[in-house]
């Protein structure tokens, strides 16, 4: 099997080239931009299990703390200077008795990087107001040449878009086997990152001809062959 051109595999991550920049795709559903020492993730959906609890659905806690821990580990292992979240950092405004905002405060205290967030549709103003002041919010997309950091992925005249929102996944089949995996999806003018949160679902996408797709296995990122033209 040939690996798509311009990509090299290394442990749990895969280096690719995009818009003239080198990017590392990490199997823990994160993307690292070495030149800017920036770690990018999308759709963390912190506090989702608390929203379920309030509604009377018995989903266990732990996802929020564990996801914050994963972010901390990634920032440290890459030596990132900035963590940029591409929207939907949170799932819903916190309830009066929710404690996950405190967890975020503790986490910010320990993390050795700046944290910035492009607001997503789930990041309600009510949430943002109560969030720790150390977080920098971008209400709209943000230009970081040659990229445009955005939540809803779309082509942008200013640069190559990096977004989330869709929670992309694909079903792979072959030899009687079948698995569904989250993917990084690189289109011609913009890319869609997988959802980072461990309590998030995914939606199957249909890449077009010429798109580059990278499937995320539990221990590796694997380039998929291009769809037929």
């Amino acid at each position: 099997m040939s690996v798509a051109c311009g990509a090299t595999a290394d442990g749990g991550q895969l280096a690719i080239e995009c818009a003239g920049e080198e990017l590392l795709l990490h199997h823990d559903r994160a993307l690292y931009w070495p030149r800017r020492r920036m770690l990018l993730v999308a759709d963390v959906h912190l506090g989702k299990e608390w929203a379920f609890g309030r509604a009377g659905l018995a989903v266990p806690g732990g996802a929020t703390e564990s996801d914050l821990g994963r972010l901390d580990t990634l920032v440290r292992s890459f030596g990132a200077e900035e963590l940029a979240v591409l929207g939907d950092f949170t799932h819903a405004p916190p309830g009066d008795e929710d404690r996950w905002l405190d967890h975020i405060g503790d986490w910010l205290h320990g993390i050795p990087a700046e944290v910035s967030i492009v607001a997503g549709n789930h990041d309600r103003p009510a949430t943002r107001q109560r969030m720790d002041r150390r977080i920098r919010w971008y209400p709209e997309s943000r230009l970081e040449r040659p990229f445009v950091l955005q939540h809803e992925p779309e082509p942008d005249p200013r640069g190559y878009g990096l977004g989330g929102h869709l929670h992309p996944a694909m079903r792979l089949r072959g030899g009687g086997d079948s698995i569904r995996l989250p993917v990084f999806w690189f289109l011609e003018r913009h890319a869609v990152l997988p959802a980072f949160g461990s309590f998030t679902g995914a939606r199957n996408v249909r890449p077009g001809a010429g798109d580059r797709v990278y499937a995320i296995a539990p221990d590796a990122v694997v380039a998929l062959p291009a769809a037929p033209r």
Binding site: M1, S2, K48, E49, W50, A51, F52, G53, R54, A55, G56, L57, A58, V59, P60, G61, G62, A63, S66, H91, A92, G95, E97, D98, R99, L172, R173, G174, G175, G176, D177, S178, I179, L181, S198, F199, T200, G201, N204, A215, A217, P218, D219, A220, V222, A223, L224, P225, A226, A227, P228, R229
Partner: protein
Amino acid sequence: MNRSFETRLDEWLAAGGRALFDFQREACEAYLAGESGLIHSPTGSGKSLAAWLGPLAEAAAEAEEGVSRAGLRILWITPLRALAVDTRENLAEAAEALGSGWRVEVRSGDTSQSVRARQRRQPPEALITTPESLSVLLSYADGAQWFRGLQAVVVDEWHELLGTKRGVQLELCLSRLRGIAPALKTWGLSATLANLEEARDVLLGPRGRGRLVRGSAPKSVRIRSVLPRTLERFPWAGHLGIKLLPAVVEAIAAANSTLLFTNTRSQAELWFQALVDERPDWVGRIALHHGSIDRKLRKRIEDALRAGELICVVCTSSLDLGVDFSPVDRVLQVGSPKGVARLLQRAGRSGHRPGAVSEVLCVPTHAFELVEIAAARRAAEQGRIEARRPLTRSLDVLAQHLVTVALGGGFEAGAMRDEVSTTHAFAGLTDAEWQWVMDFITRGGQALQGYPRYRRVEEIDGRYRVTDRGIGQRHRMGIGTIASDTAMNIRWLTGGSLGTIEESFISRLERGDRFLFAGRLVELAQVRDMTAYVRRAKRGKRTVPRWQGGRMPLSTELADSVLEVLEAAQSATGQPAEVTALAGLLDLQKRWSRLPVPDELLAELTRTREGWSLFLYPFAGRLVHEGLATLLAWRLSRDASATYTLSANDYGLELLSREPPAVDEARLREVLVPGDLEGDLLACMNTSEIAKRRFRDIARIAGLVFQGYPGRGKSTRQVQASSGLIFDVLERYDSGNLLLDQARREVLENQLETRRMRGALESIAGRRIVLERPERLTPLAFPLWAERLQSQIMSSESWRERVVRMAASLERSASRRRKSA
């Protein structure tokens, strides 16, 4: 029965040309003596009346004594909403003719709000309802008020509920009703089962020693086959498909009205289309009926059938149950019946009159199905039919029931624990399990301590109640979901409903794809809000929907009987017509290898283009063979690493490998022992993936996922998640959750049929193993070889290897498509 009631009864029966059967009298007298019981007999033999006479006789006696009692007296439970209306007509007619003055009404998901409100103010004397609607009634605060004067519950078609979670739910509801009305009598109606005593005991709960009333003597059933005309041209192993269409058309034309049963909805669609193509003049007088077709349309078809307006209805198990279709005088079964009881039930749909002979004409779609038909006849003649085993310890259903009762006025923990333990399903409930379920509904279980606001059920002054209106509303909506899988509505783009279809089928289609549905070729236009919109399509390539659950495995009884038929086939004379028709094929099998017989296990090792195929024919049903194939591959590859491709059908299994496997009879004997079966299966199967699929139902029943209000999809999005996702989260953060255990247990017990697998291995231990090395694929081997498309690979590859391999195969098919484009 008092004299005047009996006189009136005789007059009414005589007016319809009928007379009272002994078993009807027996059931009525037993009821009047205060007994409970189960009435069993084949369909159409007056069971309903047998159960209905007791209550009516009692009412008549009360009326004579001048006693008048208001309120609900009799609850009649039917497994299908569709049956409720017809049942009502029958019961109401008798109630009126026999002078009870009783109102008989229906309450189901279809009942309008105004009727429901009136029923709550002025309950009818007799109410017909489904298990789910009964559960909803118990969830109302005044539910107990309603049932205080209840005298009896009659459960219709109990055999359909037994062995399912709906049955478990009903057991729990019955225990609640007995708690409210301690003198309650319970009566059940059932088709013939092998374990009737058990069926009765499960239904009657603590008063398990009720009466077993046997209905009129079993009608004689004739099982015949449509035999291919040209025997020598019989495809030696392939599918007959619809080759027998001319004979089927002939049989339909010769009859007044025909029911043509198929095993799957896809087969029904195909046969309907084929019949319409063959006889365009029948359009309008031939109909298609299956569980996915719109309910209103189904009702119209049933009415037309009853009125004798239809020549033929192509149907699935959707018409297995229910009322009398007296015009039907011909029953056809396409494909193997897979079980003896099922075939007898279907045969009973013709000559739907007590005592009449019923006949079923079987149409094989595959050569070996002829043997299965002969085997079904043999088993039926010997009275060997299948059992239905009741489920136990379904904690998801228990959790749902407890929330229901907490909603309906609340409960006290100790008393509830005792009440629940009177059911068969939870008689063995441990204190730890009870504690866990209570913890789950009050605090969400172990891992929810971080949620001060989580509460479904709260303890207030020693009683457990639901106080939050929203939670109550959502719970009631979830009650009805035990039976249904994720179904999407399917509608015309221009408006109008066609029915429902499994989401998994639609998700495999793209816009513009064509498929047959409800006898029409349609084209998928768009999917929105759990609805698939279609438009009429012109002729062209099509996909027939493959619905889940259509592929029943061969029952043990039938499989055993198949082996006996094959053994008997060795002798020269006295063969059934089916075996004679197959003589050529059986002879080939015998010459190239040998015929499988009861005291031997036949194995074949054959070299093919792909490698080495090891075939085994235990005749234990497809599910068992799938499990056995995996187990065998795993046990064989423990010593010598290898990758096997597996396939299985009802007769046997195949292990394909590149290198010749090091097996002989002794080695097969070694790996075919029961050993630590459960442990080995858990180790070798991707049980987690299968358990995740099983968990869908469990999560819905236990109230872990919420499907949303109809038509209000988006507003609840913040609390919607797939059951697969919840499964992952639970596994990671709450691994002690007993619902996960239950999912794994259900995989072993129901999906893999571990019990039957163990039985098969134990039976193999007592048989001689014979390994043949035929040079070519034998008639028994060929279908397995051809089935390999749906096979699985057993190997110890890592995730990365799996993905890389599948990516490679994606690439290959992509380049093929590029070339052909």
